[in-house]
Amino acid sequence: MSLEQLPLLQQLMLVLAAVVLFTSFALLEQARLVAAIHAFAWQGVLVAMVTAIVAASGGLAHLFFSAALTLALKALLIPWMLHRLVRRLELDRHREPLRRPALVVMGALALVIFSYWLVLPLVQQELLFTRNIVAVSLAVVLIGLLMMVIRTQAVAQVLGFMSMENGLFLAAVSATGGMPLVVELGVAFDVLVAMILFGVFFFQISESIDSLDVDRMTRLTERAEDDS
């Protein structure tokens, strides 16, 4: 089944999935926290749209609910909470450019190729019309992981974690037509609770080390910081 035989709606789904991958890169490279939060919100919107299209063209009614939940949670509520946190921690003008952006992007592209190679046997099974997206969602997960590794700023790390969750959700939707509603609700509330806990932790960290740069937590000495 090649691209020409897919109906227009499913072609649109592939385009949106490709844009989800692009927002992952945008999130990875973004130096300003507020812009990164916006990129994350857009990713949530796109994931919700992909889910809605899968629901519409696969006739899976319960996925509409998942799409609405994703839109409300990942595209609106969590970005809003993060935004508020960033403003209260006075980080809205904070800039933290990557040290080697080109290298990081090449690494992320290598992750995309790796995840494609990983899901190739699955793709050859011809299971569902969404099977091509599995590689994209795995790549989103891995790029989120990469973001958590290379970023030293706590809020950016949380964004990486949340985009990993986006990738997992997309993988569930595209590989199996969505998880059961109970599981989905549970995951959604887990994410929400995690977000609230992260918020508390941000304040704890910034109070105790006066910064959200988690690399500083590895220093055990009490001597005064010379840099700021």
Binding site: M1, S2, L3, E4, Q5, L8, Q11, L12, L14, V15, A17, A18, V19, L21, F22, F25, P101, A102, V105, L109, V112, I113, Y116, V123, Q124, Q125, E126, R131, N132, I133, A135, V136
Partner: protein, 317 residues
Amino acid sequence: MSQAGWGLAVAQALLYVALAPLLAGWIRKVKASLQNRRGPSVLQPYRDLRKLFAKEARMAHTASLVFRAAPYVVFIATWLAAAAIPLVTTKLPTAAMADVIVIVGLLALARFFLALAGMDVGTAFGGMGASREMFVSALAEPAMLMAVFTLAMTAHSTNLASVVDYQLLGDNILRPSYMFALAGLVLVAVAETGRIPVDNPATHLELTMIHEAMILEYSGRHLAIMEWAAQLKLLLYGVLLANVFFPWGIAEGTDPAALGMGLAVVVGKLAVLGAALAVSETVLAKMRLFRAPDFLNLALLLTLLGLLSHVILEVGA
């Protein structure tokens, strides 16, 4: 077919040369009106060229043969590259040589001589401009090639005429790879033709200039030919974007009605593209030279994503 076909091919090549200053004038006109100025007439670039051709060409004492020959080499290489790209119709004998890699190579030849000419006289500005041009193009060329490969993989051919034909044949298919390739190629085109976020075409004698710095020592007909070649390059990228990604309306035969239609459509597409460029140049500010790698890295990322999304999303197992 053959004799009439070659006649048409020559006519199309001449049309490129004739239209190039018009596009530059149109962009200047739109930009002026966006800045609440009346601006010069769209025919002003033709008048500038005529004026420069009438003037005496002065040469620096240190100039060598390269300096003298460079304008002609640059112009002819750019013209050859342009002539290979289908403008009005795809059914031309020149379609056989419309290979994208040849076009990239011809543009590289033109750029090589432009940089040589910049360094030849030995002024500080010329050398600086040449090194900057090479710096930008070394980053832009991989992105350009990746975009080209994305198209080639979809159409199973590196020939531009067959790429266009392939897209006209198929039904309207949304391709994520084309979207990324288009976005990446737009960024490459902006960088390669020296438009605003990378270079400012309107400045003269400024420390950050790239293209102007290289042709600073030229005068008279040499300068006219260099400017014309730059306008031709702008038109070339415009036609490349307009006809490869939005080929609808291009003539598929060689009868006069289809050709007239094709010409009208391509002029319309270029007018829209030029206006879009003018708007983007009005709202964007020129970036520092050392931000240019970020800009072109984005182009490379987009085109690589295009290539990958073609492989991952579009190839049915």
